[in-house]
């Protein structure tokens, strides 16, 4: 008791100090986060700002932040300059089917690599991973010729079908996640009479939801923003995607920044909605790939 009282004074002081320190820590963390948020928000804010300027204002020197007058007409002007409604529908079709294809096929292949022993498994996995190192540009012409012989040029098929054959990165990501699911669960299911496919469907897939979500979001973003693929494979206006439509505001001599940014802002809506809906998966996906520090 005596000892307690004796210790009380300095401990209280310590506690105060500690509390102050923890407030400081929190403040510092928030300051850093705020700075990060501002940095990330900057291009977005610039897009919105430019999308509401007149053409003359986009040229202003030094550049200004607040549009004056606010040019709301840029939005209808930009969206009717080209058939963006159709481009939006096309992009949605391509992206939705690509995401479904990528998630399903990659999950099946990853399941094979994670749960089955077969000769050459390590080697095949290595081959799979090494395909990640082939630059996309090297594949452009061979793939183009392949799709030409299949008669798929100027259709959505070259942009969708390859996704049904898995993607090396998605497979890798899913395999690593599947490996963390305890084998005991598979065995328990097997005892209950489940076959490999049933285990996959009712044990692995439900448990791997965060990883599947992450793969879906990655695929969504990359397909939605893809420019080179649609540029090369699509040639009719009716088949164009949003990214190709945006390029109409741009040429070697001139970019109509105000219209370009207005159309970009609208094009951004879909990924934005998807991000908010799938935020949980997206963040766990970042953690999974290791780019976000420790896996919380």
């Amino acid at each position: 008791m005596v000892a307690n009282i004796a210790l009380n004074a300095p401990t209280r002081k310590n506690a105060l100090q500690e509390q102050a320190l923890s407030y400081l820590k929190v403040a510092a963390i928030y300051a850093i986060l705020l700075l990060g948020a501002v940095l990330v928000f900057f291009p977005f804010a610039w897009t919105i700002s430019t999308s509401l300027k007149t053409e003359q204002q986009t040229l202003a020197y030094p550049p200004t932040w607040v549009p004056d007058p606010v040019q709301w007409e840029n939005y209808p002007d930009a969206l009717t300059a080209r058939p963006f409604g159709r481009y939006y529908v096309n992009t949605t079709i391509i992206t939705t089917l690509s995401v479904i294809g990528q998630v399903l096929s990659s999950a099946v292949v990853a399941y094979g690599f994670a749960r089955f022993r077969f000769p050459g498994r390590g080697f095949l996995f290595l081959v799979l991973l090494s395909t990640l190192m082939i630059p996309f540009h090297m594949l452009i012409i061979p793939r183009f010729i392949l799709f030409k012989y299949l008669g798929w040029l100027d259709t959505f098929l070259p942009l969708i079908v390859p996704n049904f054959f898995g993607g090396a990165f998605s497979i890798f990501l899913l395999r690593q996640y599947f490996l963390t699911i305890p084998l005991d669960l598979d065995e328990a299911a097997k005892m209950d009479g489940a076959n490999a496919f049933q285990i996959f469907m009712s044990i692995i897939l439900p448990l791997a939801r965060p990883a599947l979500g992450a793969v879906a979001v990655f695929e969504f973003v990359s397909t939605w923003n893809d420019f080179l693929g649609p540029l090369i494979y699509l040639s009719s206006d009716r088949n164009y995607t949003v990214s190709i439509g945006l390029a109409a505001f741009r040429n070697d001599y001139f970019t109509a920044w105000h219209l370009f940014m207005a159309a970009s802002a609208v094009a951004m809506l879909a990924p934005l909605v998807v991000f908010f809906l799938a935020q949980k998966y997206f963040i766990s996906g970042v953690a999974l790939t290791g780019s976000g520090g420790s896996k919380g």
Partner: protein, 431 residues
Amino acid sequence: MMTSRKTLLTAILVIFMLTLTLGASAQDVTIKWFMRWDQNRVENVAMPVSEAFTEATGINIEFENIGSGSDYYTKLQTTVAGGTPPDVFYPATHVANAYASKGALLTISEFVERDGIDLSVYDPTILANYQIDGELHCLPIDHAALVVYYNKEIFDAAGVDYPVDGWTWDDFVETATALTLDTDGDGVTDQFGVDTFRNYWPMVVWSNTDRGLFDDIRHPTEFYGMEQGVIDSVQFVADLILEHNVMPSDEQRADISDLFAAGKSAMQVVGHWRMQRYLGSGFDFDMAALPLGESGESVNRADGSCFAISADTEHPEEAWELVKFLAGPGSLGVNMLLDLQVMTPVLSEFKSDPRFLEPELLPGSNKEAFLAGAGNYFSMYDPIHPMYSAFDSLWKQELGEVWIGAASAEEAMQRIDDEVSYILENIEDYE
């Protein structure tokens, strides 16, 4: 009953097959036409020309446009290599040459001869850029002639005389210096004499030396980079930024696409393609011919774009008809382009056309400035040889140091010369 049904079936089949055969006749040929134009030209030239062409010939056109040059060439290269090239496309001079030397372009000399097209109506230097061993491989439409645009209002406000034909680079520096202003006195330049044109440094070289950068534009064996005239020309451009401070540096430009259009520079050295934009910017402007250099000769750019036909086309005759319709003497395509005020034509009949020289949009303007330098045309992409891309990235890297004052023109040209000598010794590797 059975027989009549059979007869009916046969009749239907015959009619169906007849329709198919007729449908596949010449009337149904479709030409793929692939362009890299801006929306203005797509809507006001490509679309009406396509319609008029189909009406006149019965040949259909499938039109595709990609505005950005690099994206355009990516797609073009893929489709050419992939064996499904467009029938008619629009390469720049050096690209046309590269494709032609690889056999990807249809030679049009025979068509030209057969249809009695008089090639003397084209400037010979310009036409020569599209010929290999005397064979013409595409029909040029424009050349990227440069002029000095100047903002009359800025000149008037500063009480500076407008540029006159025959002015020199010294006059240019003097004029630019008088027009470079720090209006609010905060030590930061608010108005520049001229917007940056440093990538056109070869043009200054031509004006000083009256020759290109290599001894032979098609078969280069010698590079003139270490000659004093070339070094001085590069240093002159750098000094506009570093010494005279009349041309903005990268930081000073702050990535503004066109300071002249923004009303923040008194002059701009650029071609016809920017005119539409300046017409929309609301100030009064005119054009002056490029200043004269040491050689005393007026010079200008020869390079531009042409309409080419793919060597793999299934419809060479129809594709040629389209090219003729677009770029041939008296053609509708060139006529419509002239009305738009977007290019300097290569056809002499159009150069003297009042629609070009005295446009309604710019009454009393000096459009003749675009025609200055005839007889001394040079290609900005020099040499017209596959090694150009190596040379292009080389000078961009080395001269980048000169523009920021980290190297003198002489030091940079020495390094470029070393590399280019090596390239020229091994030139067959680039062919």
